[in-house]
Amino acid sequence: MIKVLKAGFYSSIQDMGRFGFREKGVPVSGVMDSNSAQWANMLLNNHREDALLEMTMTGAELYFEDDTEIAIAGADMSPELNGQSIAALRGVFVQKGDTLKFKSAKDGFRTYVAVKGGFQTPFLLGSRSYYKPITVSNRLNAGDLLPTVPLINEEKTFAHLRARQEFNAINLEVYKGPEWNLIGEEALLESLKKTFSVASNNNRMAYQLEEKSISHQFSILTSGTVPGTVQLTPAGTLIVLMKDAQTTGGYPRILQLTDDAISHLSQKQTGNKIKFVLRS
């Protein structure tokens, strides 16, 4: 069991997502930066679907009531175990009574903590990903208790990555969306060449961009969307749908981010720059 002493700015338990209920309006949810999350799980020899702790901007403070092993990936939040700095991107053995603290992200925006065997919070509609009203809460609160599995044989994985994660790349690879031709190639293409900045309106549902593309008069009959779909509102605002986004929408879908691009974007915060790179 892990006790949440401090929740941090916005933390939740997420796995790779909730599948099979999108036709009933249930978003896929799941980790925003799947690349970092998968690293953290791999370092512990966890299953790909094991649930992790996702922290945003400033990290949580956790108290371990049992021995276990953890791995941290994503933004550098200066992790400290019992007051001592520890490294990310490696398995770290923690003991009953240990405290893990995080500060603010120095580079990047989201950080993942994997625990050996995965967090064992309730498995609802095929996933442990936090999403209200499926889970009781959208986020972690101080005092929450997060179940874990007991360590067997104090197995330690000595895996670590000789790498450092960097999050300053600004390119996002995208495909043209289904309504690209509806809006009109030339003007649209021109409007998307500039460098955009992330607007303050960004969260697990969507990232809005500050600068506008082109305004238009089109709407579509409500149709399905997936994370990474970029909508263009009539006023010209670009909205990149993320993991908790609605499953349907009526705004034209002009771009689609690759899975990698979704991971990259989730490490950006208000004011950060991005540029679209069109894939054929």
């Binding site: 599948f19 209920f21 036709e23 509609l125 009959l221 409500t222 399905g224």
Partner: protein
């Protein structure tokens, strides 16, 4: 049953999704065709995730797909097989407590429409609605078939919090908010039922293509249903159609 009769377009979205589109209009005949093909696709690819709505189906694959292969298969399926409407379509009967404390906009709405509340209720309960889509929120049903006399613009200022179960009208649409949510619709009543219950294996029994009818209930009936819902013994009434 005849084969699919429309000209469909097939578009790749990214490298893992395919969008199938029918002609661009709200039409129950088109929706029937959409649902027929949707059911056929599910027969062949039971684990495939898809989102059906109005005039489109979005297919969501979990690995990269090549456009030619998948589109070819889908085209063949649409052309060669008879579309399946054998799946049970149901008519759902949703009880509503109209007006009163929870029907916060009923007075203004009926006045603006130049009707009495009873006339509004009559028009709202007479129609048989079609579920064209489920989205926006888990269990939020996009209903078509609202009487044109009840069409009304959304509120200029949306509310931050609309109570769970609110029954509203916005533009040409009507529906029920399955959970507390922000929204701009005119709220004329409240339904005590749970259209979306996350504790069930099938959290929302309503499917795209089903029909819905509303009926008026009293405060006493409302309170009783609420208790039954909380106790987990309430079952939303429906019939096969």
């Amino acid at each position: 049953m005849k084969s699919g009769k429309y000209e469909l377009t097939y578009k790749l979205i990214g490298n893992k999704n395919v969008l199938l589109e029918w002609p661009n209009r709200v039409d129950t005949e088109i929706l029937d065709d959409v649902i027929g093909f949707r059911n056929l696709i599910k027969k062949f690819w039971p684990n495939l995730e898809l989102i059906s709505a109005y005039n489109s189906i979005l297919l969501i694959f979990h690995e990269t797909i090549g456009k030619k292969d998948i589109v070819g298969e889908l085209k063949g399926l649409y052309a060669s097989e008879t579309l399946s409407l054998e799946e049970k379509r149901r008519l759902w009967k949703i009880p509503v407590l109209y007006g009163g404390e929870l029907g916060i906009d009923m007075k203004n709405f009926s006045e603006e429409k130049g009707m009495t509340a009873d006339e509004v209720i009559n028009l709202h309960t007479s129609a048989t609605y079609t579920v064209f889509c489920i989205g926006f929120l888990p269990g939020f049903l996009y209903l078509g078939g609202l009487d044109p006399k009840l069409h009304h613009p959304r509120r200029t200022e949306p509310r931050l919090k609309i109570p769970k179960g609110s029954v509203g009208i916005g533009g040409e649409q009507t529906g029920v908010y399955p959970q507390e949510s922000p929204g701009g619709w005119n709220i004329i009543g409240n339904s005590p039922v749970k259209i979306f219950d996350p504790s069930l294996n099938n959290p929302c029994p309503v499917n795209v293509g089903d029909k819905v009818k509303f009926h008026a209930i009293t405060i006493a009936e409302y309170k009783l249903i609420k208790i039954q819902v909380e106790a987990g013994v309430f079952k939303l009434k429906s019939e096969k159609i």
